[in-house]
Every structure is written in structure tokens, then in C-alpha cells.
Symmetry: C2
Subunit: 281 residues, 2 copies
């Protein structure tokens, strides 16, 4: 039978779709839980809109431009920021895959090749959607990502590449930490996915819980505080230990508006790698 | 803000994603109900894989080729036939939209323009996936769609266009009936969607129930029999009348493997039209 493989861009999009299909994922939107103003359907629309940008990532377009297009397309729905972090993780991985180099080394190469232009365009992506971020450290106000395209001259004056920008956020942003170190957690998680079996959505939600228990989620730190993030980590561990019910925890976290978004992003990145390596759905 | 509209192909894909996101949809896979061998994630993969074909439909490619590509891409998952009928409905509508003619008249034009080549390639789509169809009427065996690409010479000998092929199935296939008559139910359903409010997935599931109560589902006739299809129609009406619980009905239909697939396909087509006309997600 003539059944073509899914393209790399299709796998990148499918990773977003499968990530949100896993349930339960305590605190995040999934098939069975949503917020009034951030619903499952917003993630569907975000993924559909992001596809053109993902196609650019697997073509000849620089990573910054591809990411900005993906975010612009994603933003065409009423839920706001659905997949900004997931796209930030998946875009360089898709570029590496398109170069036949979907490995930590290959991803490192994509990051090392980013330019000042990529950094400028990365900031522009923040014009499209509100992303929850902390105030920048003292002296870094001109580079506050919330300035979006207005930060352009500050970036150019300092000659910062997109890799340089990421290096300044590794302490407070788990995605940036992945970017500058060859995506260690993402590749490790992809390996775990490939080793597991059963429906992919179930494997994704199990991975989510395991990752949540293993490190504090930087998005929870930003949205709430370190204490809350530590609680989230410990209670995910309690679920793994059989001491808490994941569905109850999911309900409670949604009520408290605790969104472990960085962990979900890493699941999306891991799903992409696993799909590229032959994970069957 | 620079927030580009979703492309027509993206809307076509999003229509598939939103259709399966609606719940409850008695008998069909949705966010909360699935079969062991046909899961929600198969629909995600089907939609991701179909995108390239949908892009062709909005380009210069003939409808038959675009459809066949969409089905080939859709088939790259383990669930089997997830969205064959939905794609058959959405593909000509996407072509009409790309011509700036998303109306019953415009869609009629797309169908009238189909060629023998489109018919041949349409049959080829059946090579990619098993589709439940009835035996053909006596004398029509050479044109049994299950012959797939082997039917090519029979089609060419008789000089059948894709429209001609559809005309022979209007009695037994609700999608074919839509094709040859300017998609009347689909356009009417799209109008209903645009008039309703609330989350789009909820509007889609409400539309599904209303359509299910209004006509027998031809896929249920094919899969089971006319008696079952009549029962499905009447019990959907009972839900609308408040005499049956939709969740109980959904559970029962899944247990009995009753899949009102044609109705779901029309919902997908209606969602596409509504999205193109500005329905916000």
C-alpha cells in the first residue's frame, strides 16, 4: 500500500495534538479538563494555525522566523497562549530533524547557528500573544521579552544571538535551559516514550507525571512561586507513589489555576522526537 | 497585532479536529469515548496526516488527486478509517473556498468540473484504507469501490467522471447525496452553527444530535441495517425531546458499535464552512 510517512512538520504538529490529548495531566488542559477561557478547542486551533510555521522550520527558513510564524498562526484563537513554549521547544528540533540531525548534538548545532536576526524575530513573537514571564533582572529591562519588537535596537546594540538570549534565561525558564544544553530532558523523555507501550496519549500523560515529579516546573514558579512549584513536584511524586489520586489532583490544580506548562512543553518535544524515530500512533 | 487568518487548508484541518472534540456524540469517537482499536489519538494523527492533501485542494490540484493525497496521509495511523468521509466532504468545499466560491452554487461547480481522471484517482484512495461499503447493485461489480485502482479500466471504458460515480451512490451514501446536490445539509448545518453560541465543540456536538435526529445515517445502514439506522434516528430525537440521556445513549451505541459516521462527516463539513465564514474558536 502507498502509505507515505508523515512529514516532519506533520509530526511536529501531531506532537502538539497528542500532548493535549493525554489525560489526566494535573493542572493542564486535556481532553477531560479545561478552563472557561482556555479550552481544549483552543489547543486544536493553535495546532492547526501553527502548521505553516512548522513547515518553515523544516524548510530553509531560519529558526527565529519559523518560530515567529508558528506563534502568529497559533495565536489565531481566543484562548491566548496555548503552545508558545511547546513551539519554542519543537521548532529547533524540527529544524534539526530536517537536517537529518535529530540528536542532542544536532540540536546543539541548530542553536549554535542562531543569529542576531533570529533573536530580533524571536522577540517579535511576543507581539502576537501574552506570555507569562517574570520581570527581567536589574539592568536587563531593555531586553524584557514583553517589549516584543520594541527590544530590537537593544538586541542589535548588544549583538545578541537567539542562543545568547536563551542563555540569559536558563535559571528561570526550563525551555531556555533545554535550548542551551542540547535538550537533555527532552531527549531522555523521548527515550522513555519509545520504551513504553499502550495508547500514545496514555504514555504522554504518564510521562507528564514522571517529569512533573522530577523537577520544579518553571512556569509554575513564574505564575505562582517556588513554594507552589515545590508542592506540585512533591504531589506528582505522591501520585507516582500511589498516595494521591491523579484525577483528584488534576481537579484541584485546575481549581487553583496551577498550570505546569513547561513540563507539558517537554512532553510535546519528546513526542515529536519519538514520532520522528518511528513511534506508531 | 500581526495575526494572520488561518489558511483555508488550516480551517479544513481544524474542522476535522473540532468535529472529534465535540462530546457527547452518541456512537462516535469523541474526547471522552473511544474504541480499543479506534482511539481519539488516531483522529489526531489522521488530521495531521491529511493536511498536505488539504493544501493541494486549495491549490491548483484537481479534487480527485487532493482527496487521494489527504486519505493517504490520513491513513498513516493504526485506527484505520478515521476521516475518509469527512475528507470526501471537505475536499470539494475547500476547493470551492479557494476559488472564492464557497456556496452551494460554487460547490456544484467544483463537482461539475470533475473528470474521468478524478474518478480514477478517487478509486485509488480506497487502496489506502478499508472503508465499509455495501455490495454494488447487480451489473455494477466492475465499479465496486473496494476494487480500488483495479477499477480503473472499467471507469475509463464507461467514461465516468467523479460526479458520475457519486450519482450512482446517492441512495446508499449520504456523502454522495451531498456531492450531487450542492451539499444542502452541510450548508444548512453551517448556518445553524453560525447562529449558535458557546464553545465550538459543544455547538458541534449539539449539531451532531440534531442532524442524527433528522435523517437516517447511511453509514449505520451500511454497517448494520435500516432498522438500526431508524432506531438511531428516533433515539437521537428522544435525546432532543429530553426523554433520553445523551451520555447513556453514547455509552450504549459505543457498546453496540453503532457509528453514525455520515452524520459526523456532515458536522465536519459544516464546521469548515462556518470557520471560513468567520466562526471564532
Amino acid at each position: 500500500m502507498d502509505r507515505p510517512e508523515r512529514s516532519t512538520a506533520a509530526n511536529a504538529q501531531l506532537a502538539l495534538l497528542l500532548e493535549v490529548s493525554g489525560t489526566p495531566k494535573p493542572g493542564n488542559v486535556d481532553r477531560e479538563r479545561e478552563y472557561d477561557d482556555l479550552r481544549f478547542e483552543h489547543f486544536m486551533a493553535g495546532a492547526a494555525g501553527a502548521r505553516d510555521g512548522l513547515e518553515l522550520a523544516t524548510g530553509d527558513e531560519p529558526v527565529g522566523r519559523a518560530f515567529e510564524r508558528a506563534v502568529a498562526g497559533m495565536s489565531h484563537q481566543r484562548g491566548g497562549n496555548t503552545q508558545f513554549g511547546a513551539l519554542l521547544l519543537v521548532t529547533p528540533l524540527a529544524a534539526a530533524a530536517a537536517q537529518g540531525a535529530l540528536s542532542r548534538e544536532g540540536a546543539r548545532g541548530v542553536v549554535a547557528d542562531t543569529t542576531v536576526e533570529d533573536a530580533v524575530i524571536f522577540y517579535r513573537a511576543f507581539d502576537h500573544v501574552d506570555v507569562a514571564v517574570d520581570d527581567p533582572p536589574e539592568g536587563m529591562e531593555p531586553l524584557d521579552v514583553r517589549r516584543g519588537s520594541e527590544a530590537e535596537s537593544a538586541i542589535r546594540d548588544r549583538g545578541l544571538t537567539l542562543k545568547d538570549v536563551m542563555e540569559q534565561s536558563t535559571d528561570v525558564d526550563g525551555i531556555a535551559a533545554e535550548w542551551v544544553d542540547g535538550f537533555p530532558r527532552t531527549f531522555e523523555a523521548a527515550h522513555g516514550l519509545s520504551q513504553s507501550d499502550g495508547p500514545v496519549a496514555n504514555r504522554a500523560s504518564a510521562l507528564f507525571l514522571a517529569l512533573l515529579a522530577s523537577e520544579v516546573d518553571t512556569f509554575v514558579v513564574t505564575q505562582h512561586d517556588t513554594e507552589t512549584a515545590l508542592e506540585v513536584r512533591d504531589r506528582a511524586q505522591a501520585v507516582l507513589d500511589g498516595d494521591e489520586d491523579p484525577y483528584d489532583l488534576a481537579r484541584e490544580f485546575v481549581d487553583r489555576e496551577i498550570n505546569p506548562g513547561t513540563t507539558a512543553d517537554i512532553v510535546a518535544g519528546a513526542l515529536f522526537i519519538a514520532l520522528e524515530r518511528g513511534l506508531s500512533v
